[in-house]
Symmetry: C2
Subunit: 79 residues, 2 copies
């Protein structure tokens, strides 16, 4: 069984209000060094059988990401 | 400027209804090989100055994760 990680992020040209809200809160908490924050989703899938990364890629394309506004990356977890 | 990635996941013993909902939807979409799905949050921070990963770790601890129910990992992006 393979553990596959899928990260889904809004495309760079899409506004990210969640990330902006975090970024604006940081200076008042004493963090002045953070110039940009973008928030996305992180999925950890346990996939059985062969070609786990191909299966995870299809899952991401079908269900986890909205390809109109989001990009995703698929990678096997290091463990 | 360093790009730092923070991944926040519910602790393993905490129920993840979002992940379960995805997992239960997969068989009807033709994906039978996925035995577990857990969902978390993914943040990409641009941090200026030195020790970007230490700053990002403090940001994660303070604002991005709820340490009662969530674990987080911090890593410098490959680029």
């Amino acid at each position: 069984m393979a553990k596959v990680v899928v990260d889904v992020m809004l495309k760079p040209e899409i506004l990210d209000p969640q990330g902006q809200a975090i970024q604006r809160a940081l200076p008042s908490l004493g963090f002045d060094q953070v110039s940009s924050v973008r928030q996305g989703k992180h999925f950890e899938l346990d996939v059985t059988g062969d070609d786990a990364d191909r299966v995870a890629e299809q899952v991401a394309q079908t269900l986890l990401a909205n390809p109109v506004i989001e990009d995703f990356t698929v990678r096997l977890a290091a463990e």
